[in-house]
Symmetry: C2
Subunit: 163 residues, 2 copies
DNA sequence: CACCTTTACGTTATAATATAACATTTCAGC
DNA sequence: GCTGAAATGTTATATTATAACGTAAAGGTG
């Protein structure tokens, strides 16, 4: 049996988001420190805004918030910061939504999969070795060498189905 | 053993694109006729532009060509036409590229997978039941009901690896 | 510390992708 | 031919993203 593939689950009823957010920022601090990368106040703030929920966040939403906080904010402010956070594996981009979401396991930079609930908008993140391997094998059978995989699964989460 | 999953392969050395294009347009005509949908000259022309290659085509590239051909062309011309072609399953949208590609099997409207060669830009399309099923199972294990899957695999095709 | 190099951020402009809203034309069926 | 629905035309604007160049702050080196 393979290990638990869930990196970031849909929020449980008892989810304490404050703790979740603190943990994410703390992990980010450590990850950056370990790699001698600078998690500047701006970068930290953007990461915090992304972790504000478990839903993907739009670049221009981040920009709106930053603008309210300081005058120098402009699109490059946001996109450069996102670029850094993506490079460090602290956030992921959801291609099918043009939006960004925090990564539950920054160290961990393999390809992951996203479950996107169309009802509540929440996203869960998986790192499922079986999916990765099967896609690799199937592509390999056709002589294709895989660099990366974009796997985004749209549907309805258990909470929404139950509710 | 499962059936051949390849809907649209990477072009073989002997690929005769004229025939390929004609076949695609012909299938489209039939598919629309069967469903009593109108493949108007505009729609047919856009489909033809998309089938002009086996690479994903950008909406504004289509617009540029249409503009050269007739003055009334504007963004809604293209996006509405794409919407029709997508609805009919005649084209697919590649989310990770914001681009559109012809569908090799219009009837066939299950979820498919794309192999995207970063070197030559060509895209192959698969309908691999094993991938679909595995993703469905894994998501189902977490209580998630899958509506649709976006599977886009980036890498290097066999021709580019060989060449 | 003074210098310098690199990295981060500011600023302005513009490119690329996509949709809203309403007017006009065309087509199929009567 | 008339009519209602579908398709297309037209204008405007929203959304997403990058280019290019200038300034400032951080961190290393003598």
């Amino acid at each position: 049996m393979s290990h638990n593939p869930v990196i970031a689950p849909f929020r449980a009823p008892n989810h304490r988001h404050g703790r979740c957010l603190d943990a994410a920022l703390d992990k980010a601090e450590r990850a950056c420190k370990a790699r001698e990368q600078r998690l500047t106040p701006l970068r930290r703030r953007v990461l915090e805004l992304i972790w504000d929920s478990h839903e993907p966040v739009k670049a221009y939403h981040i920009l709106d918030v930053l603008r309210a906080e300081h005058k120098g904010a402009a699109p490059p402010t946001v996109y450069r910061t996102l670029e850094f956070l993506l490079r460090q594996g602290l956030v992921h981009r959801i291609e099918s939504l043009n939006a960004y979401i925090g990564c539950g396991e920054p160290g961990h930079d393999t390809t992951t999969q996203f479950l996107i609930c169309r009802r509540c908008g929440e996203v869960a993140e998986l790192d499922d070795d079986d999916i990765i391997a099967l896609i690799g094998t199937k592509a390999g059978d056709l002589g294709f060498a895989v660099d990366s995989q974009t796997v985004e699964i749209q549907g309805c989460c258990s909470k929404c189905r139950a509710g």
